[in-house]
């Protein structure tokens, strides 16, 4: 009896599995949808009647920061890890009764970080430390919440304000269709044509039925590798009210946070169009980095013995993230307006008077924006 044919069986099985998997993954084809004009599509996004949704989002960030290895991150789920890598996020939002209720949960291995917003009230839940922080919504949280959901992220690029400011130096194109989370979508491609921006193109997939953006991909100028990609993996236009309530569980540490002084450190927009910057006061990078990774209340004991030797050898004590950020700051470029740091998508300027400017713009363009802003300050 010939037995050699049996050795072909595992090969055939592998081939069948690869073929099957490819077929399943390739089934997200371009659906046939009624034609829509560009204006119609932009209006569809702006006038979307959807007030409630829930789903899971896959978020990939590659703005030029090194990816943190999974081993050696002791902190568990943490919003700062959103700076790079791939993440799974559950988003629930409900604005049906006029109040903004949202839950953004970073689902990490064995841990979770939840941001629960009930209009102006805010809960931050860290499952690793069993720590619930209670405060009010500040500008930084707004930005963070906006980054987690494609629907919100897309508004940055397609929202009424963005369109008003950017319409004169932007090419919009549509005509393609795709499927996201099992829903038929129109594809809107936004290509900035103004000099100075680092954004090469933005691709937004808009649900044909509801007008909600379900996927946003941001390509840096001259690159076909996305810097930001946020896409719903699963979505429903319902929000479970139970998910939008947060009560600190028994046994958890509850910290009441002082409301941040927004009058002293307002976040404001500077400039306009694609190179517009966000500016924030009272930012001391050294203090910020030192504040990461350490416990909220009690200071860490100084290392002793072997630990002290190891800490001295390591040079920069702290978490891998802290080391990365310190390296990032050290690699910054000194200019008359302050320390400039840039990546393939984002540029930041830290001014000597502790202001932080950030923009999707080239360092030169951002420095010019900052200089103009400071000149404006002196005039007034």
């Amino acid at each position: 009896m010939s037995r050699s044919w049996r050795l072909l069986t595992p090969v055939a099985v592998v081939a069948a599995i690869v073929a099957g998997t490819t077929l399943v993954h390739a089934s997200s084809d371009a659906p046939a949808l009624p034609r829509i004009s560009l204006i119609g599509l932009v209006q569809k996004v702006g006038n979307s009647p959807t007030r409630a949704f829930s789903g899971t989002v896959r978020l990939s960030i590659d703005i030029g920061l090194p990816k943190l290895p999974k081993l050696g991150t002791d902190g568990g789920a943490d919003p700062l890890r959103l700076l790079s890598g791939d993440h799974l996020i559950r988003v629930v939002a409900d604005t049906t009764d006029g109040e903004q209720r949202e839950r953004v949960a970073l689902l990490d291995t064995l841990s979770e970080y939840d941001i629960v917003r009930d209009d102006s009230e805010l809960w931050l839940w860290d499952s690793t430390r069993q720590l619930a922080r209670h405060g009010s919504v500040d500008a930084l949280t707004e930005v963070l919440l906006a980054f987690a959901s494609p629907a919100e992220l897309a508004k940055t690029f397609t929202g009424p304000a963005a369109i008003r400011t950017a319409v004169f130096d932007t090419d919009y194109s549509s005509g393609q269709t795709t499927r996201v989370a099992g829903r038929d979508c129109y594809v809107l491609r936004v290509t900035p044509s103004s000099p100075g921006t680092t954004v090469g193109a933005v691709r937004v997939a808009v649900d044909a039925a509801s007008g909600v953006p379900l996927s946003v991909t941001v390509y840096p100028a001259g690159s076909s590798k996305p810097a930001i990609q946020a896409e719903f993996e699963e979505l429903s236009y319902r929000a479970d009210p139970a998910e939008l309530r947060f009560t600190p569980p028994p046994g958890a540490t509850v910290v009441e946070e002082k409301a941040p002084d927004l009058h002293e450190n307002p976040v404001r927009g500077v400039g306009n169009g694609w190179t517009a910057a966000l500016a924030m006061g009272g930012v001391d990078p050294d203090k910020l980095i030192a504040g990461l990774g350490t416990e909220q209340s009690k200071p860490k004991a100084a290392p002793e013995g072997t630990a002290a030797v190891l800490a001295a050898l390591a040079g920069t004590p702290g978490t891998p993230l802290q080391s990365y950020l310190r390296m990032m700051m050290a690699a910054g470029q000194k200019t008359p307006v302050g320390l400039v740091w840039s990546s393939r998508l984002v540029s930041l300027v830290f001014t000597p008077d502790q202001r932080l400017y950030g923009a999707f713009a080239t360092p030169d363009s951002l420095v010019a924006t900052v200089a103009a802003d400071e000149a404006g300050d002196h005039r007034s």
Binding site: L7, I17, K67, K70, A105, L110, Q130
Partner: protein, 268 residues
Amino acid sequence: MITVPSIELSLTFRRRRNLLILAVLALLPVLVGVSVRVAGIGTGTGTGMLNQVAGNGLFLVFASLALTVPLFLPVAVGAVAADQVAGDAADGTLRTVLAWPVGRSRLLAAKLLAAVAFAVAATFTVALSALAAGAALFPMRDVTLLSGATIPLSTAFGRALLIALVVTCCMAGVAVIGLTISTLTDSPATALAGTVALIVAAEIAGSLPQLDAVQPWLFSEDWLAFADLLRTPVYWGTITHSLWVQAGYAVVGASLAWARFTSRDLAL
């Protein structure tokens, strides 16, 4: 009635070395529980779940599985599976066994069953020992999920059982891989080293950010996804993916083991 599967099962579960492995696995959660009870765990150290053991004994089940799933459990399960065929081949019993009036396919199926049964036994040994130690050393109360919501103890028992089943499926995948390697060699040491090396290599590949393109297809990648059962709502995506990946490896491994075991010349 004596059947081939029952013989293989009793061989696996009566071998002194295998019983010793189960005993060590049973001891691990007890050691963790006692050290938490005696020494205490400060907040901010260890895995997040370990922090909660002192307040709730049921967390010893989750923490013990989280601690053993990356290394102890797969190595134990893989070691026993790797011995199934290669061990028999080395001590000469394989020729006797093959003289039984039983087809080689049925014999391999019986060995596969025994290896998978050991995976089930190993996982439940850790889980049940952790449950017993947790109940004896700590209070048992309502469970705070990763999402911050609290579920009653009875529901939490259901979640713990589901978690044990998900881990069992992952370990059954390791058992099939170990058995496959076992059919490729006549030396139990080679089979054992090969299985352990494969597990470690898969985990190292899973921890390197540069290899993220292949990571979703590593059998070890989502072993810790069982914690998704401790969320509200339960997130099934990663668990489902992980189970499909395990099934894929199992089908490929079993077919390779079958092709090798039924076609190779053993009548030396």
